[in-house]
Symmetry: C2
């Protein structure tokens, strides 16, 4: 409490990111980082950008990066927005497109940052319960609302929604913006990008942090018809003209151009995930069907929080959410095969 | 206009940054960039950070950078906030500390981003006219308000306020936050950092973009008592947990540790500025007394806008503001001696 803080600041319930220990070695399976390094071309591009030209402002529009994203997805450059991580892109999205007179709908179990944005920007919300099997039922979103957002695949469940179901939601909500947060789409889900031309109310956000192994570079983007992108640009230009630094623009641009490396890396993670899911089931875990780079799994005969703490003590960090409905689960990021072998070995000793 | 935009988004009047031509060579004296490269140690640190660890999230608290800033200014690490440029730091400051029930005071001629933040965050404002000589009169700020912000030195005038005058403002406004935006402080002004321990209502913002030649890296910071910093952290953690990428944290940390290089660079710019100011006066310009890395100068016998356009056509970019009171002026960033010789030569041909 402080007399100097704004009223809003007192009321905030900030997001708590997963632990990021800086000084100790863990097998780090807690924040959905990619176990493989970024594309070597991205590393080269970042190093090349770290030169004397750092004295100059970057391109405020980051046109080269927008063009590379547009090329990757066969969009026009006017249909792409970029920002300092998909968290910043989402923040601007909440202000520009989701702050309306009616409540914003999102699943009760979902990315924990959404309520933090709503607190910061004073957006009324309605949390729509997932079904018992943690799936999204499109019919639940066919009610009066000021906008809709959900991750696909959802977090922390890892469960993906089909494009057919997404179209049902888009069609039932043509006067509000439906945001699909595709942070984890590249690990087996089907992107909604091909629906952009058909639905002016569709905005898709993605990130370089997961499938492109650049969590340390902080680059995210949004895709939608130019009308939605223009709204985001207006907010961005009232907040920070130059959100992406020179290394970030260069590294992300090189990364998205290296499709071969990207495809290989994603496939390795998918293969490992499917192996780990089976192994966990054999160890008496209930494992939700994941299309993400993590699995959400419930030890049927152990306490999840205790297991999280025991794993941490054994040098393996996973994520535990002390929240209703999911307090019995662990979210386990997919690492390398070697990482996961150690994880499974420690787990076997602890259960 | 769009049915999908929020009401606020329609009402925004976004900030327009100075031109950043990407494809053409100009002598670029329009956005107050430093003509000298960043510290070689900063370049080395950025390159070293651009490695395989980019797959991992950065430290969300950027502790190493906060500690380096604290060391430089003899503060506690709890008295330092860092962000993705001082523009982002300012944006969070407006939300956390300046959004009150009473109007925010700032000078009528000042950094053009302040009104953009107020539009975005719905903050009522009162613009306090500068004196005829473009100085700030502390007594003008001794009235009921919800907070105060001004740059010191002011922009685009370049005129610095003394610490004695700043203390008058701080003392007359003990229940609200007074933000001193010290983007240009290192070119001859006197920082208010030594006042932090005495005034719980003082927040100071600074940037790595000007005196530390890192406009391309997007790093800014704020300093104040821990109570104010905690308010900023609450807002930051409701917006983006990891605003600074690994290269930004590493580069800025190395930069602020290289005091020798920093002092030399600032002194060179000060020397050039004083020479250019004299030369402009000899060419019949009225030049405001600048403590910044730019001069604000009025051609007594020429039209400023025409001169801006003619200089641009001649390959020299300066900044022209088509705004009341200052439409007769040009803001000219201080480049190298060689840059300024060309500028003065072109100017002589055009006037």
């Amino acid at each position: 409490m402080s007399k100097f803080w704004s009223k809003r600041t007192h009321e905030l319930d900030p997001y708590t990111p997963g632990e990021q220990p800086q000084n100790q070695q863990y097998i780090k399976l807690n924040t959905n980082e990619n176990p493989y390094p970024p594309s070597p071309k991205a590393i080269d591009a970042m190093r090349a950008a770290a030169d004397e030209d750092m004295r100059l402002y970057p391109d405020p529009m980051a046109k080269s990066l927008k063009q590379a994203v547009a090329d990757f997805y066969d969009l026009d450059v006017s249909e792409v927005f970029v920002g300092n991580s998909s968290d910043e892109v989402l923040a601007h999205t909440f202000v520009a497109l989701l702050k309306k007179d009616k409540p914003l709908f999102f699943p009760d179990i979902s990315y924990g940052f959404y309520p933090a944005y709503c607190g910061l920007f004073n957006i009324e919300t309605t949390r729509i319960p997932l079904a018992d099997d943690f799936t999204i039922n499109p019919q639940d979103y066919a009610a009066d609302n000021g906008g809709i957002i959900f991750p696909n695949p959802n977090a922390p469940s890892g469960i993906a929604l089909s494009l057919a179901d997404i179209e049902k939601i888009l069609m039932a909500n043509q006067d509000v913006v439906v945001v699909i947060d595709e942070a984890y789409i590249d690990f087996g889900g089907e992107t909604a990008v091909p629906l952009i031309n058909k639905y002016p109310n569709l905005l898709i956000t993605q990130t370089f942090s997961k499938s492109r192994s650049l969590a340390g570079l902080r680059v995210g983007f949004a895709m939608g018809q130019a009308d939605l992108i223009n709204g985001l640009e207006r907010v961005k230009n009232s907040f920070n003209s130059y959100p992406l630094d020179r290394a970030a623009i260069a590294g992300a641009t090189a990364s998205i151009k290296d499709k071969v490396y990207f495809d290989e890396t994603c496939q390795k993670i998918i293969n490992t995930r499917d192996k780990v899911s089976k192994a966990l089931e054999q160890m008496d875990f209930s494992v939700l069907p994941s299309q993400a780079n993590f699995v959400f799994a419930k030890p049927n005969k152990a306490d999840a929080e205790k297991l999280y703490l025991d794993l941490k003590a054994a040098g393996v960090l996973v994520r535990y959410f002390n929240s209703p409905r999911i307090a019995g689960y662990l979210r386990i990021t997919i690492g390398t095969d070697a990482d996961m072998d150690v994880f499974l070995e420690k787990l076997a000793m602890l259960t």
